[in-house]
């Protein structure tokens, strides 16, 4: 018997079951994305570590790392990581408000969801525009 079956049998709490939800309702979709982006950010720390270790290794290694990070593939990875970071941060703030019992009604969850995505997109665009122009 798996742990899940054991828990179901005893009527205990079970993990979020993705299949029982409409995964593409705004509410569940944003929630699932929060986790996926969180996990992606953790994997993405490898990229951050690569960059900072290269800097510690010296100017030559730093240049090599920067030429990789400055390639189209490097940009793609950093762009994805930056959006995931801003999304996870903005939605994290939303989670903290929920933790204090605020904005828990359905209309508020929808409106804060739109605001959150808007903030995450804005922060990503602003960061990239500034980063590329400065």
């Amino acid at each position: 018997m798996t742990l899940l079956e054991e828990r179901l049998k005893r009527g205990g709490p079970v993990s979020p079951h993705l299949q029982v939800y409409n995964m593409f309702a705004l509410t569940s979709f944003l929630s699932i994305l929060h986790r996926i982006f969180g996990a992606a950010l953790f994997v993405g720390t490898l990229l951050f570590a690569y960059w900072i270790i290269a800097a510690a290794a010296g100017p030559a290694a730093y240049d090599t790392a920067m030429s990789f990070l400055g390639s189209w593939f490097g940009y793609l990875l950093i762009f994805g990581w930056s959006f995931a970071l801003f999304y996870h941060m903005c939605n994290g703030i939303r989670h903290m408000l929920w933790d204090t019992g605020r904005i828990l009604s359905l209309p508020e969850i929808y409106s804060s969801g739109y605001v959150m995505v808007g903030c995450a997109l804005t922060l990503t665009v602003v960061a990239w525009v500034l980063g590329l122009s400065l």
Binding site: T2, L3, L4, E6, R7, R10, G12, P13, S15, P16, R35, G38, A39, L41, F42, T45, L46, F48, A49, I52, I53, A55, A56, G58, P59, Y62, D63, M66, G70, S82, L85, F86, M89, G92, I93, H95, M96, D99, L123, A127, L130, G131, L132, L134
Partner: protein
Amino acid sequence: MAKMRSDLMTARALGSARDGFHHWWIERLSAIALVPLTLWFACGIVSVAGADYAEFAAWLGKPWNAGLMICFISAAFLHGKMGMEVIIEDYLEPRSVQLAVKVFVNLMAFALGIVSVVSVLIVALRG
């Protein structure tokens, strides 16, 4: 009717409740710290994007930048490790696999976090 069964019967297989709150709380604390740290980190990266080594080292050599970078790294790896633990506990079966992946993620986060902090110090102190 008097309860004839011990609480252990209902508690069994639900996992220990001993330190669940502590895990949740540390995850929130690191999340709170990461909001300003992430904004600072983003501003910092924007300011050194495309910089050569000398410029980057000069930036990271400033005490506040080195210090906040170490704060960011510590909070980020701690928060990331804790978030991954929750995901692993939610979706991975059986328990043996869960444990193995948790050990791997913990060691990974610990090692990468420390190596990153040491790297910051090397760059900052090399001058």
